[in-house]
């Protein structure tokens, strides 16, 4: 792409662990070089320009004219594209990326497009006229042909019964059914019709040669009441025309009503389909011929024809003339056909020529337009010689950006080099994570929650493994995992083809974009399925179970009947479990799959403990990441007064819980034993950890050792009460430290910085200390007391919005109903604090807003303290989802597929075949897709809330570089949407 070479960004800064380091830079570009430079930067796509003229409306900017010209060009190209599509000429779209044309080329392009458009419009116009003519001629041809047949038919018709001639009343009623009238067509003066006596009638004349030479205009006035009066000669005329077929019935009816039945209509469908010249639609038309008499009727008929958009054509009276005319029309049609063909050929040639370039032109025009849009963001120097731009760019890429600028300047032939000048700024730079096709999916998962704050730790690299892993803990099944893995693999292997196919389906695209996530989720599901020993809810006995039969021959003798055979008995672990042989080495022992009645209690206990340990591990990991964040931002304050108390809090309660779980696993057996010096009688005395945890919080006194009926509640290691007291005390002490230490130190620092308040410091410090200490009983008693008071009497002084009332309210709103007690203790201190603060040195004239800091700190402390409890509980969803998945797949097996094994022979084969399909589709539909979706969502939540809340700020905004690739992509997507 460039001869200057591009330095790859160093491996030490992969830009994924933390966002890229950004800098604000100012660009000074000569106005003649600006276009070229911006073009180069657009190709590079690493620079985000800032709008330096935010107050100037879009219409008053410098390059509005050029943008308009580009819009116009785009419009022309679109027109061209539409015409090409109409002609079904294949458009050449190699997806190549043409260089940005020079600004002077724009005129050429404009001229080309103008010429093409004009030519095309002219050709279209010609074609339209020609087609119109052609259609008219065709219609005329049909009229001539059809009328000819009318007249011929009329001539060859037989004589009508004479009585019809005088039966005026009947005629009036039956004149619409044209068939009966045509029966009379052949008479010299066949009939007359009238609605009232003494009216004009029209009659049909017939020649001796049985051929209608003409319908002679005759004027007849006849009195119906004088039947002897000979029919008089009448004036008879006709018009012929063409009408759309669907309009005909209405036309006929209206004609009949308006003319009171005094007209006679004959019709015949045109078999050929006629193309509408303007819209190109196919229309079915019908030839009609109307006979009438008199001028009045003529105007009426013409008006109606006009109203129905029927086209009337002149039709000569004599067959001779008609024949001549017909021949004339035929020759003209032939001529027109040749001309029309030539026109179409020409149009086609123009379009084919254009189709080769139209996509490329469109790309070029869009590039030019985006360049001028960008130039509109620039500031113009006073001397008008120079453009000034401000942009965010990654520090690592500065060299490449400078190269691009140099190239752009050289290409434009400018003598003065463009200058890139780094600026110092206090503004927050945008967050830019460099991703590739693999990491993008995971980065999107993280970004969906919130764009990382600039330079903070990006959770995505860790999410890449922990997300599929936690998903798999919930989804663990080798069979379902394999299905998912294969689906992911299919998408990955067919990546190129599927991308090229440009499938627009949203659901498909979601899956396709997450193909690497799906692949990893499948792979991990196979692993966890292997550990759970589940393959479509069945187990495999790969290493040999560690369990043996504990029952002798006489036991089996006792249980011989059918019901007895189904009774469950426990293989007691003391005898049945092969302790020297050790447990099943990899995963769950297959014996549990056979234990239908107590499999769940064993698995639930295992999965719950595993969930808690996995959860606490992940939270501790998140906390460690927060340490790295604090270290990176060199915030000693945060490390000492945030991280350490948080770690202590987590460690004292939750890591302790994990250790207890592991100790229970290691030391408590089914047999009697000695555990930590106490005599342990057996499994019924294994400690209950959950109740133990609650007792730890309540500091309940218990017996030591394993004696008494509630031996599982006793202290089970020496010094447990002491340790638990210490742990709890440390944890509780951490809370006020988290809450007050940082704000206080910040405030103190602020005071020192301002070089005053030394005198106030000692008393203020004392006050703060007292306030902090007061918090503890306040936390304990405030709410109970308030509740008690509220209950005691609904006395009037309930609410008095005091001076600090608004502040309290805001804190409450922030808490969002976490816990009322906590709200109380959270909003007390700022009130006190604010008062002492205000007394110290007047109101907030400093940069440090103590109230804000306190509120922020309170929220975080509460979030962390309560979060540790609720998040640990939240990780139990790993257990719940995994249980649900295993049970569902078990149900699917026993309720569906297992029925197939009850049949023998051909029927059995057929039923197995049929049920397999049901089983398989239900497996894929319900277990893989729906369960997979729910496990995905829960894994998502665990990452967003439980994991990221420990360290992730997410207050950043995304880096949006000016890049042709992105702009073209967006345009293309918009085009496809339309």
């Amino acid at each position: 792409m460039d001869q200057y070479g591009t330095a790859p960004s160093p491996a030490e800064h992969p830009g994924i662990f933390r966002s890229e380091e950004m800098c604000l830079a100012q660009l000074y570009i000569q106005s003649e070089a600006a276009y070229g430079c911006v073009a180069e930067l657009g190709e590079l796509g690493l620079v985000q320009f800032r709008d330096l003229n935010p107050d100037i409306s879009a219409f008053q900017r410098k390059y509005v004219k050029e943008v308009r010209r580009c819009d116009e060009m785009e419009r022309k190209l679109r027109f061209l594209e539409r015409e090409i599509k109409k002609d079904q000429v294949p458009m050449l779209d190699t997806g190549e990326n043409p260089d940005v044309p020079q600004p002077r080329e724009m005129i050429d392009l404009e001229a080309t497009f103008e010429k093409l458009e004009n030519e095309l419009r002219e050709v279209n116009q010609n074609e339209e006229t020609l087609k119109k003519n052609f259609n008219e001629l065709t219609e005329l041809k049909h009229i001539l042909r059809k009328t000819q047949t009318f007249f011929e038919e009329a001539g060859t018709e037989g004589m009508a019964p004479p009585e019809t001639a005088h039966d005026a009343e009947t005629l009036e009623l039956t004149s619409v059914p044209t068939g009966s009238m045509f029966a009379n067509f052949g008479l010299p003066i066949v009939f007359c019709c009238a609605s009232t006596p003494n009216v004009n009638c029209f009659c049909f004349l017939q020649h001796e040669e049985l051929q209608v030479e003409a319908l002679l205009p005759l004027e007849v006035t006849r009195d119906l009441h004088a039947p002897d009066t000979p029919a008089l000669i009448m004036q008879l005329r006709f018009v012929a025309g063409v009408i759309q077929r669907e309009r005909l019935p209405a036309f006929e009816r209206l004609l009949w009503r308006v003319c009171r039945g005094n007209v006679f209509l004959r019709q015949s469908d045109i078999d050929d389909v006629i193309q509408d010249a303007v819209t190109g639609e196919s229309v079915n038309k019908t030839v009609f011929i109307i006979f009438f008499q008199g001028d009045q009727l003529k105007t009426k008929v013409k008006k109606i024809c006009e109203g129905f958009r029927a086209t009337l054509y002149p039709c000569p009276d004599t067959p001779q003339e008609r024949r001549e005319m017909s021949i004339g029309v035929m020759t003209r049609i032939e001529d027109l056909k040749t001309v029309l063909g030539q026109t179409q050929d020409h149009r086609h040639r123009v379009l084919v020529a254009a189709s080769k370039n139209v996509r490329m032109w469109l790309t070029k025009v869009r590039k030019i337009k985006s360049i001028y849009h960008t130039l509109n963001l620039f500031n113009i120097d006073v001397t008008q010689k120079c453009l000034i731009a401000e942009c965010w760019c990654p520090v690592n890429e500065l060299e490449r950006i400078k190269m691009s600028l140099k190239r752009g300047t050289e290409d434009s032939g400018s003598q003065v080099p463009s200058i890139l000048h780094r600026m110092e700024t206090s503004e927050n730079p945008p967050t830019y994570h460099k991703t590739n096709k693999f990491t993008r999916g995971f980065q999107e998962i993280v970004d969906a929650y919130g764009m990382a704050t600039y330079r903070e730790i990006n959770p995505a690299p860790y999410t890449m493994i922990t997300f599929p892993f936690l998903f798999a803990v919930m989804f663990g099944d080798m069979g379902h995992g394999t299905v998912m893995l294969l689906a992911g693999l299919f998408f990955i292997l067919k990546e190129k083809q599927l991308e090229a196919a440009r499938i627009r389906d949203e659901i498909f695209n979601t899956f396709f974009n997450g193909r690497y996530v799906i692949f990893l989720m499948g792979a991990f599901s196979i692993y966890t399925g292997f550990i759970y020993n589940d393959i479509f809810s069945k187990s495999i006995n790969l290493f040999g179970s560690s369990w043996r039969n504990t029952y002798g021959a006489d036991f089996f003798q006792e249980h011989l009947t059918y019901e007895e055979q189904e009774k469950p008995f426990m293989l007691v672990p003391e005898k049945g479990f092969d302790s020297p042989g050790g447990p099943y080495p990899f995963g769950l022992d297959p014996v549990w799959n056979l234990a239908e009645s107590n499999k769940l209690s064993f698995l639930n206990s295992m999965k719950m403990k595993a969930s808690v340990i996995l959860g606490i591990t992940q939270m501790a990991f998140g906390l460690m990441l927060s340490l790295y964040n604090h270290r990176y931002f060199k915030s000693d304050l945060d490390i000492k007064w945030m991280f350490i108390p948080q770690a202590l809090f987590l460690g004292c309660i939750f890591v302790y819980l994990c250790l207890q779980i592991i100790a229970k696993w290691l030391f408590f057996t089914a047999e009697a034993n000695t555990v930590f010096g106490y005599d342990y009688p057996g499994s019924n005395c294994a400690p209950s950890l959950l109740i133990g945890l609650i007792n730890m919080f309540m500091q309940k006194s218990r017996d030591k050792g394993f004696e008494g009926p509630t031996c599982y509640l006793n202290f089970w290691y020496p010094g447990q009460s002491f340790f638990e007291f210490i742990f709890l005390a440390v944890a509780i002490c951490c809370v006020p430290v988290m809450l007050f230490a940082k704000p206080y130190l910040m405030w103190k620092e602020d005071q020192l910085r301002r070089g005053r308040g030394h005198a106030h410091l000692a008393p203020v410090e004392l006050i703060l200390l007292v306030v902090a200490l007061v918090q503890v009983p306040l936390m304990l008693f405030a709410k109970p007391y308030l509740l008690w008071r509220r209950q005691k009497g609904y006395q009037p002084q309930i609410d008095q919005p005091g001076t600090s009332g608004g502040f309290q309210q805001s804190v409450r709103a922030d808490m969002n109903g976490e816990d009322v007690e906590v709200v109380q203790h959270a909003d007390e201190p700022p009130k006190e604090n604010g008062a002492s603060h205000g007394g110290g040195h007047g109101h907030g004239d400093g940069p440090l807003d103590m109230g804000d800091v306190m509120v922020y700190q309170a929220i975080h402390t509460i979030e962390f303290v309560l979060g540790c409890v609720s998040h640990t509980a939240s990780y139990l969803r790993l257990w719940a989802l995994s249980l649900a998945h295993a049970q569902l797949s078990d149900v699917l097996w026993t309720m569906v597929f297992r029925h197939a094994f009850g049949f023998d022979g051909y029927l059995g084969a057929f039923i197995t075949y049929a049920l397999f399909f049901v089983f398989f589709f239900l497996s894929v539909g319900i277990l893989v897709l729906m369960e997979g979706l729910s496990a995905f969502l829960h894994a998502l939540r665990l990452h967003w809330v439980e994991f990221q809340s420990k360290f992730y700020g997410g207050h950043g905004y995304p880096f949006a570089p000016f890049s042709f690739e992105k702009i073209l992509q967006e345009e293309r997507e918009a085009e496809e949407q339309a």
Partner: protein, 85 residues
Amino acid sequence: MGVIIPLVSVSAFWLVIGLGGPFLVPKGVNRGIVQTMIVLTAVCCWLFWILVYLHQLNPLIGPQISVKTIRWISEKWGDAKGVKN
């Protein structure tokens, strides 16, 4: 198989992957990310395995199985010590 052999071998397996794997990653832009992934994979997989393994180390309850299946277990997997059939 004993307790120690699986414990050591599986742990060693994941340890080798987790510690040795990162060194085998070729140099390039994505080296750091691949290393992170390998280490995390090893940690997650080992952790999950050890949790399940530890839970079965000292079972406090035994499986409740129907007599029919117990008979099958007796035939296929054998009897515990001191049980005669």
